[in-house]
């Protein structure tokens, strides 16, 4: 109601370019994120010109740091699917799922001598199974997602630690996997652009494209947004609510399995606490999703937004790392992550009330 009248009034007054730009900036998350991204690069370049950085904020550095965006962005996309599915959807267990799948992947490659492709499929499957357990409790039993995934966070993290007596697996075959994530020179026009990490092409782009097709072009996406917006309405419209929600958690689990492969090859070792050390992987993933414009209440969120948000956070982190000497940088990264999240959330709230929703 209010939104309609505001929009109508705005149209009557025929606002100028500035007003429209401001409106796009605060109501369209993608515009805001891209503006922030450009602003970040400009500021960092200026700082570099002024000699405030410990190393160059070059395009090579930015391209190489994108490997950190792969796990972060993929898990953020997993959260997107789960949160959009609605009814308090959230997945706190992704870090533990990464740990378990990573250990199983490590066993397959490093101890049982499996070839790469079956081992990756094995990691995907194990992640999918763990996600299916979450999905079963949430969709079939009607447990609140926050509590279910808190419980499975505990259970899975325990399994990951017990399975190999808390020690990592880093045998020869695993150490040979680092090519999966190392920067490579692109064929044909490779000398004109910086070297991008292999993981982007192997893991990130396929998942992004697949998810984007499913969520925006397929039936599944329509059903997902439908039940996320209104569970009951979805049921009356003939959407198989339980199955759609179940599959959201399944996707989150499979994405975690894939992220496990990325982290194992990145660190040349399958660590039992890969996804749970410190504050774990779930928090940054949820942060990325919310920053990318996913509404925690469900039914709203875009794949592109999450991807850009992941790149923004990773480049911001990379810039912060260059601005400080020693370990101070990693501390300021926490401040930046928290500050950006609160800023985005409050902006979301304000724009929803003032302009009637972000897109």
């Amino acid at each position: 109601m209010n939104a309609v009248t505001t929009a109508a009034r705005a149209k009557d007054r025929a606002p100028g370019l500035g007003a429209r730009a401001l409106r796009a900036l605060v109501t369209q998350r993608l515009v805001l994120l891209v503006t922030l991204l450009v602003g970040l690069v400009v500021v960092m370049k200026l700082l570099e010109r002024g000699g405030y950085l410990v190393a160059s904020y070059s395009s090579d550095y930015l391209a190489a740091s994108l490997i950190d965006a792969v796990p972060l962005g993929l898990l953020g996309l997993g959260q997107l699917v789960v949160i959009v599915s609605g009814r308090g959807g959230i997945d706190l267990s992704v870090g533990s799922m990464v740990s378990v799948s990573g250990m199983l992947f490590g066993f397959a490659i490093g101890e049982w001598g499996w070839p790469l492709v079956p081992a990756v499929l094995f990691a995907l499957l194990s992640g999918g199974l763990l996600g299916a357990i979450n999905g079963f409790f949430v969709s079939a039993m009607g447990f609140p997602a926050l509590i279910t995934t808190l419980a499975t966070y505990y259970a899975y993290s325990s399994i990951a630690l017990v399975v190999n007596d808390s020690s990592p697996i880093s045998t020869g075959p695993i150490q040979d996997l680092t090519w999966l994530t190392r920067p490579v020179e692109l064929p044909m026009f490779g000398q004109y652009v910086p070297d991008f990490p292999m993981g982007i092409f192997l893991f990130a782009i396929p998942v992004i494209v697949l998810l984007w097709l499913n969520v925006t072009r397929g039936t599944y996406g329509r059903q997902l947004y439908a039940i996320g917006t209104n569970d009951t309405a979805g049921r009356f419209a003939g959407v198989p609510v339980g199955s759609v929600r179940f599959r959201a958690y399944l996707v989150s689990g499979m994405v975690s399995g894939l992220v496990a492969v990325v982290t194992v090859s990145q660190f040349a070792s399958a660590r039992p606490d890969a996804g749970t050390a410190g504050n774990g992987m779930a928090l940054p993933a949820i942060t990325i999703a919310v920053l990318g414009g996913v509404a925690i209440t469900g039914g709203v969120g875009r794949v592109v937004g999450v991807v850009v948000a992941a790149v923004l956070v990773v480049w911001l982190n990379a810039g912060i790392l260059l601005s400080f000497e020693g370990s101070e940088g990693s501390q300021y990264q926490l401040l930046a992550l928290g500050g950006v999240l609160i800023f985005a959330a409050i902006l979301n709230g304000v724009t929803t009330r003032r302009y009637g929703g972000t897109s």
Binding site: L146, A155, S158, Q331, G338, L341, I342, A345, R353
Partner: protein, 332 residues
Amino acid sequence: MTTTAPAPARSTMPLLSGRVTGQELVLLGVITLLWLALGVSTDTFIQAGTLSNLAYNVAPIALVGIGMTVVIVCGGIDVSVGSAVTVVTVIVAKLVRDQGVSLPVAVVVAVGVGALLGLVNGVLISVGRVHAIIITFGTLNVFRFVALRIFDSEQVAGVPGTLAVLGGGQTGETLHVPHAFVVMLLLAGAMWWYMRNTAGGRHLYAMGGDRLAARLAGVKVQRREVLAYVLTGVLVGLASCVVIGGGGLIGQNVGVGLELQVIAAVVIGGTSIMGGRGTVLGTVLGALLVGTVASGVTILHWPSQLTSLFVGVFILVAVGTDVVRERSRRRA
């Protein structure tokens, strides 16, 4: 109506009837069974040393759990308590070590800083009108940053025993009962009474059951919400004092992951994560159960990582019984 928290339990014990919910009785039973089983199968569990250690370990989780129960009952959540404990702990530990402040001053500072952090959460959530989990995820990171800056890249070593009265050692106990545990029980009892028997306490349930209806009925929803987070902050301050009292060395990872343990205790205690239902008594029992499991796993010489597996299973079982009970109540 889902807001009538301590539903009249069809208890066979007339004394407890109506005062204790089903979940609490079940918990009490499970804890008793575990204690009996551990007492029979090991000869070290039923010992003053083990039990007082258990009580001391449970105290900080249950203390923060009291506040978390209030926050969750009125429809919110606070995942930043772990980082808040880190902040308060490092500030007070440094004050005690470098300035040599006395016990009362240390406690007042701890409570004050904790309340301030809670106020930040409460104001951002209430005024910003953003979902609590998002804001507290954000402040989790920000608080951790603040704590790490104060730590200044090293542990706080050699903290004098000013706060040992609240700690787990000899000075922190009377007749093998840790003072921290007694303080926790007193506060939990007071809060339990407040939430059950006063209008203000009932308002908390009303807010969690239906925020809009509560506001229309005249509950000052925003103010109560902020106060709930401030209360949690105050309890975070007390819990930090207990942590500092425990030992002379404060590592940089103090408090990390505490929020999950606290939420686990609250949920196992039968508080509904959707708000409107739950008691402080249940939370204390939930914390005791988690502590018992951890202690039991240690005594049985099982790998200590198994504790989290059991905690996870207990959470699922607790939520399962809650969901089943809620369904049967709605059908009735």
